[in-house]
């Protein structure tokens, strides 16, 4: 037998035809999703939520977390051990990786069938919001009722993990996760530097501005900022915004809920002040060219007077600066109450397809009790609850704990501005860099912010 002569052209055409047919017949991306029987907003487990974990039989609980840093890791290791001692029938299979790695994997992991039982999911619109919309997370509200989470957590903390079932509203609605740790953005300063300038720690924005001017007049760099990665400027602009804009407006803008505007006069004033700081070199010659970690390292070595930044920097800087380092919440907002960017660590959530939902909920409950908070504090972490009573006796950590407690109890923990829309971290990071480097005017950048916000809120 012999094969029919096969020309090169017909081979190529044939291959192209096969490939083309493949494309046509290939299903649309993600087409499987709508055929799932779940409704948007995830599954709601039944009232069986109250089942005793020790009655669940021998099971393995798969936990994915990103608590790789020293104190956080120690705390979770201890908590996992305690949990397994309390429930010998439950074995915890923990997979720990960096925040960036977990974040990058989250969407693939959640859309697959082999999901972890407990997973830390960033509560921004770009992450948790998208997953809620796609029906990939379990609504924890029934468990909240069973375990009394609403009494345990302040409303302002829980609002950071609440979405409506269609993910249109952020801050109200179902509960999709529970945080273990807290975070607050404030102002670090060096006491020696303030003494040299002859100023006291500011309690109002006017005093803060005066202190900055005094520093500049003496040839000191008033503030330290390393913004090459774009996001650090959000932690400077966020607290400053509260000097001009009412906190409830900022909450709307920051959570991507309709009803506010980036282009009103208060926001313009805030952005203009931020631009002035940039053009008058309040952050030194090149904040946009400075690395985040290099910036706080420079601060510990004597560069700058103030460092607007997050509570997570406290431990490392205190190791170098000791008692010279102090922390204050930013001065009261435009309405006279405290308000600053801050919130919760990455919350623990339960994927919609998790196999051990009951045990997962029991685990999340276990790692957020008062005892757990104590354990986190003992390990040098920053618990989200009972912060005032768990504060260390002295040092910058005490000041951070107290500032967080005061703002979360009496004032407003403003959302990180990049929570707002799936693309806002990009828009805001880029815009604040451009304002800082005078590449674009405050009005132009605010117009970009507004366009992003309006496109999302509709």
């Amino acid at each position: 037998m012999s094969f029919r002569p096969f020309t090169r052209r017909s081979f190529v055409l044939g291959a192209a035809g096969v490939a083309g047919a493949g494309v046509l017949s290939a299903c649309a991306p993600g087409e499987n999703a709508p055929t799932q029987t779940q409704k948007p907003g995830g599954t709601s487990p039944s009232a069986a939520a109250s089942k005793d974990p020790s009655q669940l039989g021998d099971i393995t609980l798969v936990v994915w977390d990103q608590e790789v840093r020293g104190s956080q890791n120690d705390a979770l290791v201890a908590l996992n051990k305690a949990f397994q001692e309390k429930y010998p029938n439950i074995k915890i299979d923990r997979k720990s990786q960096s925040f960036d790695d977990l974040k990058a994997q989250a969407s693939l992991a959640l859309s697959g069938n082999d999901v972890p039982d407990v997973m830390q999911v960033n509560n921004a619109r770009a992450d948790m919001g998208q997953f809620v919309k796609a029906g990939q997370l379990t609504d924890l509200s029934p468990f909240a009722a069973t375990y009394g989470w609403e009494d345990r957590f302040p409303t302002s903390v829980l609002s950071k993990v609440r979405y409506s079932a269609d993910a249109k509203t952020f801050g109200e609605g179902n509960l999709y996760g529970l945080p273990q740790t807290g975070e607050i953005v404030g102002i670090f300063y060096s006491q020696k530097k303030l003494d040299a300038l002859g100023v006291k720690a500011p309690t109002t924005w006017d005093e803060y501005f005066a202190a900055l001017d005094a520093a500049l007049a003496k040839g000191e760099q008033p503030m330290v900022l390393g913004n090459v990665d774009k996001w650090p400027a959000l932690h400077v602009f966020g607290p400053l915004q509260a000097k001009y804009v009412a906190p409830d407006e900022i909450v709307k803008l920051g959570m991507g809920n309709a009803g506010a505007s980036w282009t009103d006069e208060p926001n313009k004033a805030a952005m203009k002040q931020f631009a002035d700081w940039g053009s008058k070199k309040y952050f030194g010659g090149s904040p946009n060219g400075t690395d985040y970690d290099a910036a706080w390292n420079d601060f510990t070595k004597g560069t700058g007077v103030f460092l607007p930044g997050g509570s997570w920097l406290g431990t490392d800087m205190e190791a170098v600066m000791g008692e010279d380092l102090h922390f204050i919440a930013p001065p009261p907002a435009v309405d006279g109450k405290l308000a600053t960017t801050g919130g919760t660590g990455i919350p623990f959530a339960i994927p919609a397809k998790a196999k051990q939902v009951e045990a997962a909920a029991a685990y999340i409950d276990f790692i957020t009790t008062s005892d757990a908070m104590k354990l986190i504090a003992e390990n040098g972490g920053f618990p989200v609850l009972d912060t005032a009573s768990l504060a260390p006796e002295k040092g910058v950590q005490k000041e951070i704990f107290e500032a967080f407690d005061k703002v979360s109890q009496e004032g407003t923990l403003l959302p990180y501005l990049d929570y707002a829309t799936p693309s806002f971290s990009d828009t805001a990071g880029q815009g604040l860099q451009e304002v800082l480097g005078a590449q674009r005017t405050p009005d132009e950048v605010l117009a970009d912010f507004e366009a992003d916000y309006k496109e999302f809120t509709g």
Binding site: S111, P287, Q433
Partner: protein, 298 residues
């Protein structure tokens, strides 16, 4: 010993399809890992899709959006600018270096070759981290400038909207020059020495020699070098990702970075695929043009 008579090839071996059968395994691997993803990417570019969950067919909508997308247009402009640093400058410098090394009896030629080629061997991320330190506000470059009394020029190079892109470009220049020089040296090595002797007898100086003999002889190598470096320029990702993240603002964003940013940060997989497709077409087009020009002149 009688040699075994060779048997006539069987009908199967004589069949015209047979060579393709041998190619089939390789083709299947190639198709599975390259053609299929390529076609899928082209398909994704027609959808509005966050990377999971349901998708919406939007036809060429993603491509139409790109036409008025400030970030995308900036990225393409930057990629084209980087060609100057990745291709044109290394070609000029590489030619001069190669001509000098070829002509002069340089001692330890091998050492120089290794040194100049070294950047090619180092992982790009390592290169990027090293240059990140050099460009930092209190990094080595500024220290050097201050040491020679040029404090006025110091700045945070990667944070300066005017200098950030050239700063990234200079890293590319540093990377590619060695490769270009090595290619050209190889080409020059093939030129018979008697050509040069003849030229010298006719009274040609080194410069005349270079333009009359060396340059025409290495046209093929120049084309190869240009194709390789232009692809590298247009594909730049690691350098930008590590050093600037596309900033300040959009001053250093490039198409590859846009693909990553859209797909993984913004979860706009459709738009990311559209950028990827446009980038692929751009790389192909520019290289077809370069190759054509190179072949014509030969």
């Amino acid at each position: 010993m009688a040699r075994k008579r060779r048997e006539a090839p069987s009908a199967v071996v004589r069949g015209r399809l047979t060579p393709y059968l041998y190619l089939l395994p390789a083709f299947l691997v190639y198709a599975g890992f390259l053609l299929y993803p390529l076609l899928r990417a082209a398909q994704f570019s027609l959808y509005d899709w966050p990377g999971f969950g349901p998708s919406t067919f939007v036809g060429l909508g993603n491509y139409v959006d790109l036409l008025s997308d400030r970030r995308f247009l900036a990225a393409v402009t930057h990629a084209l600018t980087l060609i100057i640093f990745y291709s044109i400058l290394p070609l000029v410098v590489g030619l001069v270096l190669a001509a000098i090394l070829r002509r002069g009896k340089v001692k330890g030629l091998g050492v120089f070759r290794v040194l100049i080629f070294m950047p090619q061997v180092i992982a790009l991320v390592v290169v990027a981290v090293a240059w990140y330190q050099i460009y930092a506000p209190n990094g080595y470059l500024n220290a050097l400038l201050s040491a020679v009394g040029l404090e006025g020029l110091t700045r945070g190079w990667l944070g300066d909207p005017t200098f950030a892109l050239p700063a990234v470009g200079m890293v590319g220049f540093w990377l590619q020059t060695g490769l270009v020089m090595l290619l050209l040296l190889a080409g020059m090595g093939r030129i018979p020495n008697d050509q040069y002797e003849a030229a010298r007898l006719d009274g040609a100086g080194p410069i005349r020699e270079f333009f009359a003999i060396t340059l025409p002889a290495v046209k093929a190598e120049i084309t190869t070098a240009l194709v390789l470096t232009i692809i590298a320029a247009l594909k730049t990702f690691d350098l930008v990702y590590v050093t600037t993240g596309g900033g300040p603002g959009t001053a250093t964003t490039v198409p590859s970075y846009e693909v990553y940013n859209r797909a993984f940060n913004l979860k706009e997989v459709g738009s990311a695929s559209a950028v990827a497709v446009v980038l692929t077409i751009l790389v192909f087009l520019i290289n077809v043009v370069v190759s054509r020009i190179g072949e014509e002149k030969r």
